[in-house]
């Protein structure tokens, strides 16, 4: 899958869970910078991403994610 397709799919999930669009999908974007992306919504976002892409994250992979760029790269790798 192309990177921009992955980014768009994640954006739709974020809008759906967080109910706003006040963020830019930059590689450097982190959860802390996004209004409402807290420990509660994080669980839902991760699960929605896994379902949307048909993938399963390993715990160590999740714990290394610190920005959008990492997340997109990881999804791309997992999709092979």
């Amino acid at each position: 899958m192309e990177k921009n397709e992955i980014v768009e799919k994640i954006r739709v999930i974020l809008v759906n869970v967080l109910k706003h669009e006040n963020f830019e999908m930059a590689d450097s974007l982190s959860a802390a910078q996004v209004n409402g992306w807290d420990s509660l919504t994080h669980m839902i976002i991760i699960t929605d991403i896994e379902n949307a892409f048909g993938i399963q994250f390993k715990l160590k992979e999740l714990n290394k994610l610190n920005n959008m760029g990492n997340l997109v790269d990881l999804i791309q790798t997992k999709l092979g």
Binding site: A31, A32, D38, S39, L40, T41, H42, M43, I44, I46, T47, E50, N51, F57, K58, L59, L62, N63, K64, N66
Partner: protein, 222 residues
Amino acid sequence: MSGYLFRKAVADDIPFLADTVVAAEKSGSDKLSYCTLFNLPEEKARGFIKSMFEEEIDGCEFSVSSFIVAEYNGKPVAAFGGWVETINEDNMPSNMLKSNLISFTFGKEALAFLKTKAAAIAELVSEREPLALQLEYLYVSDEHRGKGLSNQLITELEKAAAAIYPAVSKVQVQVYSNNDGAIAVYKKNGFHIGRTYKASNDEVLQLLPWNEKYIMEKELKK
């Protein structure tokens, strides 16, 4: 305090730590959030809590390494967790480590159920202050209450935190505002109420022990 041994928790303590989490999380009520928010029976939730401890992730409330255990006659009788926020392998907020553990462990069905309850509890979600010692999950078994074990566990956690991060200058703990016993223990140990979080949605009382919580805190002397 004679007869009690205080030590860092080890992997063999995981069943006791799971009991500690279940008892502390209920906070004197019959509401266990790991059941109510994920539609799980208590034994299943307890099993997942054990699994999360077994992942050996340091720096959060499901880290064996966070806990101090009080032992009596060779058996654990009390425990309390504490870690310095964001001092961990990946400098991750502990709440994110916890959320990752839950996402990884609880399974799709449980997470889908959480989605239906998230809005009701959203106002009680609080993030933790970086570099502050965070305390979580205090439990003292019935027959060992009133012996000062809580005070000693707090002291031990403060010592352990200072050994890992000498600049630690604050300690915080979250407590439901109706938990008079715990609030009294923390006040006696120098804590005061910092912030209050209140949920306006009545459904919260079906899901959590109470609809209001305090962040209690104190400065640590150098």
